[in-house]
């Protein structure tokens, strides 16, 4: 650090309390650096905090401009955290079986006072799809996928797909008419997968003598639904993917994505 400027705080009861608090043993055991009133300590704030150290210490000015970033990547991440939290709470109330799924959602609506967790989860999910799209759009329009950031763009595209799959699997869980028919329409596409769907082109060519290898009970759609229609198997499969499989996958990719932002030279800017 070339220059170390110290910002002298104004004296007052608030400041005195703040000064006392930040010198207690508890405080100093949690935060290993002094008050962020000098450049040196501002560096330490970021470097010695496991959450903040995702950031660099300094970044280009356009990187903090809403004009440049639209904040869409950050909001996508924040919405993911909101969805993880609200989803966790919803899991306490919800059982993924034909018997209970719908009634649990009704119960959630009727019996939980001031309950807005399902609403926050659903609208947050819609919002996340939109923020992820707009993030991708911004990254494209600023040419930020160009070298050296090619790989991170590709990771982002995979995360975009995972976001849509997360939303898609969650769509089934309320087990109402809206849910099963949307998933029926969506998953019917898998039936037409070339070679792997039983109504897909080329599937009839895969046969041993008279025995077809690809039929309704072993094709791509069956693998997706765990059955030949959207039923108990599909509900469980989508629940597990929605709550465990896909979030884990996207969390790992998020780590890669953020790490690569740093390693590829921080937020993009003119060379």
């Amino acid at each position: 650090m070339a220059e170390t400027k110290t910002i002298a705080p104004a004296e007052g009861p608030g400041t005195r309390f703040w000064n006392w608090l930040t010198e207690t043993q508890i405080w100093t055991s949690v935060f290993r650096h002094g008050r962020p009133d000098s450049d040196r300590n501002r560096v330490l704030v970021v470097l010695s905090n496991v959450f903040l150290h995702l950031h660099p210490v300094r970044l280009r000015k356009s990187g903090v401009r809403l004009r440049y970033t639209w904040c869409m990547g950050g909001l996508s991440f924040f919405l993911f955290l909101v969805l993880t939290f609200t989803g966790l709470l919803l899991m306490f109330y919800y059982r993924p079986t034909l018997e209970y799924a719908y009634t649990d959602i009704v119960g959630l609506r009727e019996h939980v006072p001031l309950g807005i967790m399902r609403e926050m989860h659903r609208w947050g999910a819609h919002a996340m799809v939109i923020t992820v799209w707009l993030h991708m759009f911004r990254v494209f329009m600023t040419g930020s996928y160009k070298p050296p950031r090619e790989f991170n763009w590709s990771v982002g595209v995979v995360m975009l797909v995972l976001t849509l799959l997360l939303s898609f699997t969650g769509y089934l869980l309320p087990w109402d008419q809206l849910a099963i028919w949307a998933i029926t329409v969506g998953s019917n596409m898998a039936r037409a997968t070339p070679f792997l769907g039983y109504e897909g082109p080329g599937a009839q060519l895969l046969r041993l003598g008279d025995v077809p290898l690809i039929h309704a009970a072993d094709d791509a759609r069956f693998a997706l639904l765990g059955g030949t229609f959207v039923g108990e198997g599909a509900l469980l499969r989508f629940y597990v993917l929605h709550c465990v499989g896909l979030p884990l996958a996207i969390a790992v990719l998020m780590a890669v994505h953020f790490w690569r932002v740093r390693k590829d030279g921080g937020i993009s800017g003119p060379l």
């Binding site: 962020p36 501002r42 970021v46 210490v57 300094r58 970044l59 280009r60 000015k61 356009s62 903090v64 440049y68 919405l79 719908y102 807005i116 399902r118 609403e119 926050m120 989860h121 609208w123 919002a127 939109i130 707009l134 991708m136 759009f137 494209f140 329009m141 600023t142 040419g143 996928y145 160009k146 070298p147 950031r149 763009w153 590709s154 595209v157 995979v158 939303s167 898609f168 109402d176 008419q177 809206l178 028919w181 029926t184 329409v185 969506g186 019917n188 596409m189 898998a190 039936r191 037409a192 997968t193 070339p194 082109p201 009839q204 229609f229 959207v230 039923g231 993009s268 800017g269 003119p270």
Partner: protein, 358 residues
């Protein structure tokens, strides 16, 4: 009032709707210098807002727009219109600076600021605002819950989740194996391929239009027109039996749409040669198969030697052919649309015997 509604209903017809989206994008790009002013951008948003407020007085419009799961798409319309305009405006502003020899604004802003406090405070504010918005939205709009799932009772229309409605709209023009599997796969592959086939070193890390004209035009066409406008179309303008309904039109389940679509093989064998179909499907579909093969294999070569010669030389053969293939795959949708609208063409290749229809 009736006149305006009738006019809007007419404009919303899929053919006109799609053409208008294309024309709108073309005008926005062509006249970007004039349209870059704030008055135009915010004026358009205001006009859109007035249209929606005006629209909600109509029961049919209100029914479809206030359906809880459709509310985010109303938001998406505004956000998308705004950000498409905004990103182009930033490009125009930077292009002016570059033309004046100043370099993009991001270059002038490339000195460093502290993460604490400059960034973390912005993050905190964004986080608080986003939470407030989400909580208010959640309090005022209940999440939808319909009748319990009943596999015996198919709703009409049956719609996929809204973000897949562009793909569902493609089902009008392509069979599921293309619209639901191959083309989505190509969208993903194409997006991943973008950084590897775009060799233009300019425009890295700042908004610009002039330095990246073809890339931006193509991306906007794919994202704003093909992907997003078809989602809006599929959400608001498709009713029972996936028939078209204007935004102010009642969703009449008995509405009949003329379906007189004809396969290419019929055009060829029956209307042109005035003979019957040959019995073997390979012969029957030969004209269509040849056409598709030409489109996929010959056209990239021809284009590379004529219109896209410059790109061929710049990209080299492998990058050029991947780009051309992805480009033609993307253009297959608007081309098939046009063929449907003008020639009533159903399938170019129709081999229902092996579920192979294009």
């Amino acid at each position: 009032m009736v006149l305006i509604k009738g006019f809007v209903n007419t404009l919303a017809d899929p053919r006109l709707f799609f053409l208008l989206a294309c024309v709108g994008l073309a005008v926005l790009i062509w006249k970007r210098e004039q349209l870059a002013s704030s008055a135009v951008g915010y004026g358009t948003l205001g006009f859109l807002g007035i249209f929606f407020v005006f629209g909600t007085f109509d029961p049919n419009f209100r029914l479809i727009v206030t359906k809880p799961d459709n509310v985010p798409i109303v938001g998406l319309i505004f956000l998308l219109a705004f950000f498409v305009w905004y990103s182009l405006r930033e490009g125009v502003l930077n292009d002016r600076r570059i033309a004046a020899g100043q370099g993009p604004i991001e270059k002038a802003e490339s000195d460093r600021v502290w993460v604490w406090p400059d960034l973390v405070y912005i993050e905190l504010i964004a986080l608080v605002l986003c939470s407030v918005l989400l909580i208010v939205w959640s309090i005022f709009l209940k999440a939808p819950l319909e009748q319990p799932a009943n596999p015996a009772n198919t709703p009409n229309p049956s719609k996929a989740p809204w973000y897949f409605l562009g793909l569902q709209e493609m089902l009008v023009y392509f069979d599921p194996w293309l619209a639901g599997v191959v083309l989505p796969g190509l969208i993903i592959a194409g997006l991943i391929a973008i950084p590897y086939i775009d060799r233009n070193p300019k425009g890295n890390g700042y908004y610009t239009f002039n330095e990246r004209k073809p890339e931006i035009v193509l991306f906007l066409f794919g994202f704003a027109v093909l992907w997003s406008s078809l989602i809006v179309l599929g959400t608001f303008l498709r009713g029972p039996n996936w028939n078209f309904f204007g935004p102010f039109e009642y969703w009449d389940i008995h509405k009949l749409a003329a379906l007189t679509n004809v396969n290419l093989s019929e055009y060829f064998w029956i209307r042109m040669l005035k003979t019957g179909y040959p019995s073997a499907w390979a012969v029957r579909e030969l004209p269509g198969i040849v056409l598709v093969l030409l489109y996929v294999f010959a056209l990239p070569v021809l284009l590379g030697k004529s219109v896209f010669k410059g790109y061929y030389e710049k990209l080299g053969p492998s990058r050029y052919y991947v780009t051309a293939f992805l480009f033609l795959a993307m253009m297959s949708l608007p081309l098939k649309m046009l063929a449907r609208w003008i020639l009533n063409l159903k399938y170019v290749v129709a081999i229902p015997e092996i579920f192979f229809n294009i």
